[in-house]
């Protein structure tokens, strides 16, 4: 029995939870005995949580022995003199009498009274407000919750001198523990009842959380699909180059893929940068690896072309080019890359050479084509009829040429490059004493500013003068 009390004391908190203990004395540093304070018996420090030292002293009838003067006064103020300190005498009084002397710490008298009366002579003390179940019949110091941590066993020597005092304190402790356990049970039961009464709200909340998770996953998939689209747009060579340097360990390869931990910058080969702009409702998405650009429209066109080839109809391809790009991972990966469509790939020989000057073979072919056209035109006009009429044709068209030529020359602007006197830009020297246009404009601006400032000051002066008057 008493060991239960000391178990509580082994787990004594530094600041006891006052709970509903009312004005039974607040905890203060004075509660802890110092070296210059009256020695405190072991039982006074080994008390259950929620039991103040004053209560412990009062419970054993030694309220006036507490080393804290405030607590002595407090204990004396709460109970009438002569009754507070004589717990054993109080045990023989009736319940009504005891009730008059139980301002708030009434429970501490209960155990000795019950023990003295054999457990059936005295009615139960009134329950404190808010308590909905009697404590009678409950075991002392029960484990209110099965999952509560067990208390540590105290050494037997700590209770050697106060075994006769333990029942009162023990019952008091049991009462407090039971009360708090019941309060905890009540809170849990209330929550359970609320959940049982509103199961739909719980399901709705779970559905919202699940929806948020789905949306987050969808966004992540979308970002991943865009990245795959970029890599697919620049071709598999870019992906290979982005991963090969580290795999091959080529020290000469200084592409950005060597240092993936670095932040991507325009100009880093292998690192794709996305530029998004909006202007007057039109959006533009550009992707670059630092050396060339690819637009989001090209990705859409590639997907539309792929869709058109898959269905075998150009109508689908045209419709696909108008819709938004397929941002799903599968759609991007299934679309043919730019390399497959003849577009250039980073690091590879360009397939699309429209923007490059013609090479030697193309020049020769073009020259042959021009020569063949010239020969065909010459053979077309080289006939005996034309040869015989060449001089007459020249004579007849001379007047027409002259009129047309005069008209074309009349439309030409007057002047010629030969009139330019200087080949390089030069500054025209300003004659001294002559004001140029810039000087006049500057002077005008300065005069305007000075007039405006003067007018503002005069206006302010007049306003102040009016106020003074």
């Amino acid at each position: 029995m008493s060991s239960e009390l000391y178990r509580g004391g082994a787990d004594r908190p530094d600041r006891p939870d006052r709970g509903d203990q009312g004005d039974q004395g607040d905890w203060s540093p004075e509660d802890d005995p110092g070296p210059d304070v009256t020695p405190v018996p072991a039982w006074a420090d080994h008390r259950a949580p929620g039991i103040t030292r004053a209560e412990a002293y009062a419970a054993v009838g030694q309220a006036d022995q507490t080393p804290n003067a405030f607590l002595r006064r407090d204990a004396g103020a709460r109970d009438e003199p002569g009754k507070v300190h004589d717990a054993q005498a109080e045990a023989g009084q009736s319940g009504a009498d005891r009730g008059q002397h139980e301002p708030g710490g009434v429970r501490i008298w209960e155990a000795p009274a019950v023990a003295a009366a054999g457990g059936g002579d005295h009615p139960d003390p009134p329950d404190p407000p808010g308590r909905d179940s009697p404590r009678e019949g409950r075991p002392l110091l029960p484990s209110p919750e099965g999952d509560r941590p067990p208390m540590a066993e105290a050494s037997p020597d700590t209770r050697s001198d106060d075994d006769q005092l333990s029942p009162a304190i023990e019952q008091r402790v049991n009462a407090i523990v039971e009360q708090r356990a019941q309060e905890a049970d009540g809170d849990v039961k209330a929550e359970n009842v609320e959940l049982q009464q509103h199961p739909g709200e719980a399901r709705t909340e779970n559905a919202e959380i699940k929806q948020q998770l789905d949306e987050t996953n969808a966004k992540l998939d979308e970002q991943g699909a865009k990245l795959d689209a970029i890599l697919a747009a620049v071709g598999p060579g870019a992906v290979d180059k982005a991963t090969s340097p580290r795999e091959t360990g080529d020290p000469d390869d200084s592409t950005g893929a060597e240092q993936p931990e670095h932040q991507s910058r325009p100009g880093d080969k292998g690192v794709i940068t996305h530029a998004h702009s909006e202007f007057h409702g039109h959006t533009l998405d550009l992707y670059t690896d630092g050396t060339r650009w690819v637009s989001g429209d090209q990705i859409r066109a590639a997907q539309a072309e792929k869709d058109g080839k898959a269905t075998g109809t150009g109508k689908d391809a045209q419709a696909g080019s108008e819709r938004s790009p397929d941002t799903t991972r599968r759609g991007i990966l299934d679309a043919p890359s730019m390399h497959d469509q003849g577009r250039n790939v980073v690091g590879e020989r360009p397939n699309d050479a429209d923007d490059l000057p013609p090479d030697r073979r193309q020049l020769l072919e073009a020259d042959e084509g021009k020569r063949s056209r010239a020969d065909r035109l010459r053979r077309r006009v080289e006939s005996e009829e034309v040869l015989g009429n060449l001089h007459d044709t020249a004579k007849d068209q001379a007047s027409t040429w002259q009129r047309v030529f005069d008209t074309l020359n009349a439309k030409q602007p007057q002047g010629s490059p030969g009139e330019i006197q200087n080949d390089s830009p030069h500054a025209i020297p300003v004659p001294p004493g002559h004001a140029v246009a810039g000087d006049a404009i500057s002077a005008g601006i300065m005069a305007g500013v000075m007039l405006a400032e003067a007018g503002r000051r005069i206006h302010g002066m007049l306003a102040r003068r009016k106020e003074v008057e």
């Binding site: 084509g369 021009k370 020569r371 056209r373 010239a374 035109l377 010459r378 077309r380 006009v381 080289e382 006939s383 009829e385 034309v386 040869l387 009429n389 060449l390 001089h391 044709t393 020249a394 004579k395 068209q397 001379a398 027409t400 040429w401 002259q402 009129r403 047309v404 030529f405 008209t407 074309l408 020359n409 439309k411 490059p417």
Partner: protein
């Protein structure tokens, strides 16, 4: 057939607007030199057509240019047959066969369009010399 300095000088007189000189120099050419002159005119026409319309994809540029020339004046509108001019230019570009055109029509159109096309290029003396050199090289068999 050869394309020599006589033919080049005659064509230069035509392109610079010295039509009297052009007529005079044409009269000095013999029949074989006339062939060379016709070859030079055809090569020059191919060269200037490529320079003017070579970068254009369709025929709209040709139609637009002919319309622009004809809109300069009444004499230009009367002098340039739009259908004939467009057909000859497109034939020079290799975009049509111009089967309904005879040799005389093609030659007259060439001799009328060539000064206008060169004039439209805004070539100076050096530019005209360079253009004639290219045409002469193209006219060589």
């Amino acid at each position: 057939m050869s394309t020599g300095d006589k033919q080049v000088a005659a064509l230069r007189a035509l392109l610079t607007g010295d039509f009297d000189r052009h007529k005079h120099m044409i009269e000095l050419l013999d029949k074989d030199e006339d062939r060379g002159y016709l070859a030079l005119v055809s090569a020059a026409f191919i060269e200037i057509a490529d320079r003017t319309f070579g970068s254009a994809d369709g025929n709209a540029a040709v139609v637009e240019w002919v319309g622009k020339i004809r809109s300069q004046s009444t004499d230009a509108a009367d002098g340039f047959d739009p259908v004939l001019s467009e057909q000859v230019i497109l034939y020079a570009l290799g975009k049509t066969e111009a089967e309904d055109l005879n040799s005389q029509q093609i030659l007259e159109a060439e001799l009328l369009l060539l000064p206008a096309l060169v004039h439209d290029q805004g070539l100076d003396e050096a530019g005209i010399d360079e253009f004639l050199s290219a045409a002469r090289a193209l006219a060589q068999p």
